[in-house]
């Protein structure tokens, strides 16, 4: 399997990465891409005395920190796991770091395989594991104040479903 992993400040070009994935081999029948984008708001939980409410709060920018040297190793391990589980022809994982404005691209996961089921599943697996295992930390900036984002229980649950069973 061909695997491309990059952590970078600059933007990426989906079209370029897609062409690399689809041209890997004439056996490629399916390419799935996932792009994560900066939304212009974050959903925040307000924990009150009697109940918890969620509010959308607009943001000015997002900032991504990572642990250089460790993140690359973790992403390689995640891609290796996907490749053991599914029969993949090529994978691409690109994650940006530094300051990002709303609507900018944050992350790209791409998978090329013979059949669509394995491309869809592997792309979802890669995103679920990247979200919960790779050493990235996100903070938002709003009104000149920086605020670290809390990890989400839903991301943890999404990653856990893959350890239950392969076909679930």
């Amino acid at each position: 399997m061909t695997s491309r992993i990059r952590i970078q400040q600059q933007d990426f070009d989906l079209a370029e990465e897609y062409e690399l994935l689809r041209q890997t081999d004439s056996a490629v029948g399916a390419v799935v891409t996932f792009s994560g984008l900066v939304r212009d708001f974050e959903v925040e939980a307000d924990v009150g005395v009697e109940d918890v409410t969620c509010a959308k709060k607009s943001i000015d920018s997002l900032s991504l920190q990572h642990y250089p040297g460790m993140t690359e190793k973790l992403l390689e391990a995640i891609v290796e796991q996907a490749n053991t589980r599914w029969n993949l022809i090529a994978t691409t994982v690109i994650h940006r770091v530094g300051d990002l404005a709303p609507r900018e691209q944050i992350v790209l996961v791409g998978v090329a395989s013979q059949h669509r089921a394995e491309a869809f599943e592997a792309a979802q697996f890669l995103m679920d594991y990247l979200k919960t295992q790779a050493t990235f930390w996100k903070s938002i900036r709003r009104d000149n104040q920086q605020q670290w984002i809390h990890s989400k229980a839903s991301d943890k649950q999404a990653a856990e479903r893959w350890s239950r069973s392969k076909d679930e």
Binding site: Y67, H95, K131, W137, K138
Partner: protein, 79 residues
């Protein structure tokens, strides 16, 4: 001496913390840090905080050596 790194929100609490320390395990390093920097200490004792040595996640009682890179990692939030 071991080298210390603090990521994510932990970095905000570690601004006055020295970048090196004498400790034989991450657990001992955490104890020493908590004694001098109680706000950081509370954060480091959060059960979700993990520790890595030389870029590998390890248990808190992992032996440390001269020059070990010890990083304190809050829950990750990439993607």
């Amino acid at each position: 001496m071991i080298n210390l790194l603090f990521f994510g929100r932990l970095g905000d609490f570690a601004k006055a913390v020295p970048s090196t320390l004498e400790a034989s395990t991450p657990a001992e390093a955490r104890e020493l840090l908590a004694a001098d920097f109680p706000d950081l200490g509370r954060e480091l004792y959060e059960p979700q905080v993990l520790v890595s040595v030389n870029k590998m996640i390890v248990p808190w009682d992992q032996p440390l050596f001269e020059g070990s890179e010890v990083a304190f990692l809050p829950p990750v939030t990439g993607g």
